[in-house]
Amino acid sequence: MQISARHSDNTTIFDVSGDIDLANSPEVRKALLREVREKRTPRVVMNLSKVRYIDSSGVASLVEGLKASRDLKLRFILFGLSPSAREVLQLSRLLKIFEVYDNEDQALSS
C-alpha cells in the first residue's frame, strides 16, 4: 500500500493505492488524523480509485477520519470506490454516512 498527499487551497487529497488491511491501515489512520486534528485542513479527500481491497480495519480508519472531521466541522470525502470497497461500506451501513463521489472532478466541485 502506498499513500501520498497533494495539497491545494484548503484541500488535501490522499492518493492511496494497493490494499488497505491490518498490515497498513494504521498508516492510513495516522495520516488522516494528523491532517484533520493537527493541520485542521478544511477539506480532506481520499482518492480510493487504486484501492482494490479494504478490510474492516481500513473502514475503521476511515470512520475515525470522518468522526474527527465532523468534530471539527471539516469535510471528509471519498471518491473512486472499487466494487470491493463499495461492498464493505454497504455491509457496514456506512456508504450513506460518508460523502462519496465517483471521481476527483465530482469530489472537488462538490
Partner: protein
C-alpha cells in the same frame, strides 16, 4: 469466463483442496487473499461470492492475529480449504474453510458482532464474516481454536 464444474477440481480423498500454514504476520494477509481469490475462481464462485469468501477469510485471520495472538507476528495459523457436499435442500457443493490457531479460547459471546446503528470504528470484522458466509461456527479442541466457514455455490452466468 465460463463457470467451472467443481468436479474439475480434484480434491484429496478427504475433500482437502488447499492447506496454508502461515505465521500471524499481517504482511501475509495479502498472500492468503491472493490464494483464496484464485481458489474461489477455480471452484466456480461468482465474482461477488469470490469477494465474499476472500473477505471473510481475511477478516477471520485478522481477528486471530489481533485478538487471538494479541499482535504477535510469530504464531502459527493453519487454513484448510475443502470441498463439502451440498446441504440437504441444495444441489451445489460448498467450500469449507477451517482456520486453526493456538491462541486462548474464544469467549463465544464475543463472536456475535456488534450492532451497526452506531457509527464507530471497529467491531465490523465479524459482521462481514457472517454477512459473507453461509455457515460460521466456532469450536475448540485439543487447545486449538477452530473457526469454520462454509460458502455454497450458487448458479451464475
Amino acid at each position: 469466463m465460463r463457470q467451472l464444474d467443481t468436479r474439475d477440481v480434484t480434491p484429496a480423498s478427504d475433500g482437502l483442496l488447499l492447506k496454508l500454514e502461515l505465521h500471524s504476520d499481517p504482511q501475509l494477509l495479502c498472500v492468503v487473499r491472493g490464494a483464496l481469490e484464485r481458489l474461489t475462481e477455480v471452484f466456480g464462485f461468482s465474482p461477488p461470492d469470490r469477494r465474499s469468501v476472500t473477505r471473510a477469510v481475511d477478516e477471520a485471520l485478522t481477528n486471530i492475529m489481533r485478538h487471538g495472538y494479541n499482535g504477535r507476528t510469530d504464531q502459527p495459523i493453519e487454513v484448510y480449504c475443502k470441498r463439502v457436499r451440498p446441504r440437504p435442500s441444495e444441489r451445489h457443493d460448498g467450500l469449507e474453510i477451517l482456520l486453526c490457531d493456538q491462541g486462548p479460547a474464544v469467549d463465544p459471546s464475543k463472536l456475535r458482532g456488534r450492532r451497526l446503528d452506531e457509527i464507530k470504528p471497529g467491531g465490523l470484522g465479524l459482521h462481514f464474516i457472517r454477512q459473507s458466509m453461509d455457515t460460521v461456527e466456532y469450536a475448540r479442541a485439543g487447545g486449538i481454536n477452530q473457526f469454520r466457514l462454509v460458502k455454497y455455490l450458487q448458479p451464475w452466468t
